[in-house]
Symmetry: C2
Subunit: 351 residues, 2 copies
Amino acid sequence: MPSQSDVARLANVSFMTVSRVVNNDPRVKEETRERVLRVIREIGYYPNAAARALNRRKAMTVGLVLPRDEYVLSEPYFTQLIYHIERLLVPHGYGLLLIAGDGSAERDVTVAFRQRTVDGLIVLGSPIGDERLEAISRNRIPTVLMHASSELPWISWVDIDNEAMIGYFLNYLAELSHEVIGFIAGDLTVLDARQRLDSFRTLLERRGRRFDEHLVYRGDWSSNAGFGAYRYFASLEPRPTAVISSNDHMAIGFIKAAHEAGERIPDDVSIVGIDDIEMASFTTPALTTMRQPMSEIAAAAVDSLMTSMGRESAWEAHTVLSAEPVIRNSCGPAAGGRALPRQQNLQTPGS
Amino acid sequence: MPSQSDVARLANVSFMTVSRVVNNDPRVKEETRERVLRVIREIGYYPNAAARALNRRKAMTVGLVLPRDEYVLSEPYFTQLIYHIERLLVPHGYGLLLIAGDGSAERDVTVAFRQRTVDGLIVLGSPIGDERLEAISRNRIPTVLMHASSELPWISWVDIDNEAMIGYFLNYLAELSHEVIGFIAGDLTVLDARQRLDSFRTLLERRGRRFDEHLVYRGDWSSNAGFGAYRYFASLEPRPTAVISSNDHMAIGFIKAAHEAGERIPDDVSIVGIDDIEMASFTTPALTTMRQPMSEIAAAAVDSLMTSMGRESAWEAHTVLSAEPVIRNSCGPAAGGRALPRQQNLQTPGS
DNA sequence: CTGTTAGCGCATTCAG
DNA sequence: CTGAATGCGCTAACAG
């Protein structure tokens, strides 16, 4: 495998000149540059990443810390995020290293940085009170958190506006005359899950309605949980006429359970989800939900991380982005109500 | 950030001894080793990955080449594979670097290796006649292909037994007295898609039934394609009483379309999928499908890659694994038939 | 504009 | 069992 010296010899220059050409240093005569470039192409020279990293003290790699939970990982949601992150990192010259966190909390997350394998971290969906964050901050690792937040230095984050989403649905369902609204929570160790639930409670009270613990079903993001939620709500008195699910998977489980029970959606009960996964337009009826701005989320994360890695002292940015409602057919007027569904942003499954 | 020399000084040894301790070289006095280890822990020393890589000429990193297609990537299927691969790589001391292939074919795939950023490659679902494979082989990059195959040296692969899957379904549907069977193909630039279609044709003919082009709908793996397939088959005369879909997504689109048309599954038409994605147990009715042995596939891939990377000269292994049928409720006897559904491997959605 | 010197942190080879 | 010398391939800092 050829090195700079090989190129240098064949081009009749010192290897220093080769280095300059490779790094686009302007102070090289055009003629020499071209000669060197030609040799480089001819013998197929590529700079050795390890030597570069050693010298520059920069690995040009970002670590992607995956949720510990195998289940969460199987969300297409995360895959899309990963896809966008990688795409945005490449133009900056950075690579993306996967780090799954099944071992000891602190070690996993810290080691890659201490070994200088990565220059910074992107953490996907860290749980509340995650000890890893403390370790990250202590080690002064430039980091951006996605779908979570933190006040620690060195830790930037980008999240979606959970309160706005819940607020939107609450309005929407109110216009459809729903009075009793159930809520399916996600795994409450996850910040987004908690924020959604808290928003539900707070916003309800702000409207002067009383918040009833019984109207909350604690799920874990899985379709199965939505299944359980249906049964639970069906047994309630008074029974909710509409349900807000903290994600689409659970909403889909809910719909499935309703079908099996012989009920019709939205005639018998309305349901909304969050995420707009592909399957959401393929349920019967198609699910009303919120679409998250994936590529913006990824872009904000990469931006924050880049400037954070470029600085010497602690720095962090906090970004909140809003989701976009996707109104389909899983909501209707409350039984006995006369309101009509508001058909804005009508979205049909392409076909 | 401390280096070996720092540890050496504090432990009153030469940095060479530190190196030996770090690499578990047995020829170090137990007492010295412990002293060194203590210092290492105290000052939080971690070996510098770049220096190591430079010296050993090994990056201890594997590149994961993702499908170019954003759609395919959103399959939870791939995420699971990634998860398992990472998990299996870590014990070997290897990291996993993501490589998305949106740029020029050869460059993308080759560069990381030529730069010595990765020691080998795992390629997910390469299309038929992929020029990248030729480039990989030419560069003598130890590589394992997943869900594809190739005869090129240096390229190992692991795939599932597509013919066996189709054969199983053909038997199963025959027992249910289905005579006219439709087939929804995946994106035919993908080897698995083609193998499934070819098996369908071949096995049908082997049974002495004639293969009819009209009974094949060419999809692209998406739910939308399944939607279109339903409409297509509904217009056919004679109309198929059962349909084999090349993946679950398309099967789910098919089911959705059937619902919208007011038909019942499996009474009016039977359908099977492949993959057993999570959603497959949450359709109405729950989908009969094939579950792929994810962790075995990943294990076979990692194994092959490891031995391939450990060798000097070309080496490759070819592995074929079989999928496991998951019989749920989307198939019934052909209209007018008297056969009963064979209830083996009965699988209910947990709940 | 180009070359020389030095060293990034580690592991291999050879001496003790 | 331990240490000294050497070089992996590259770039920063300083000559020329």
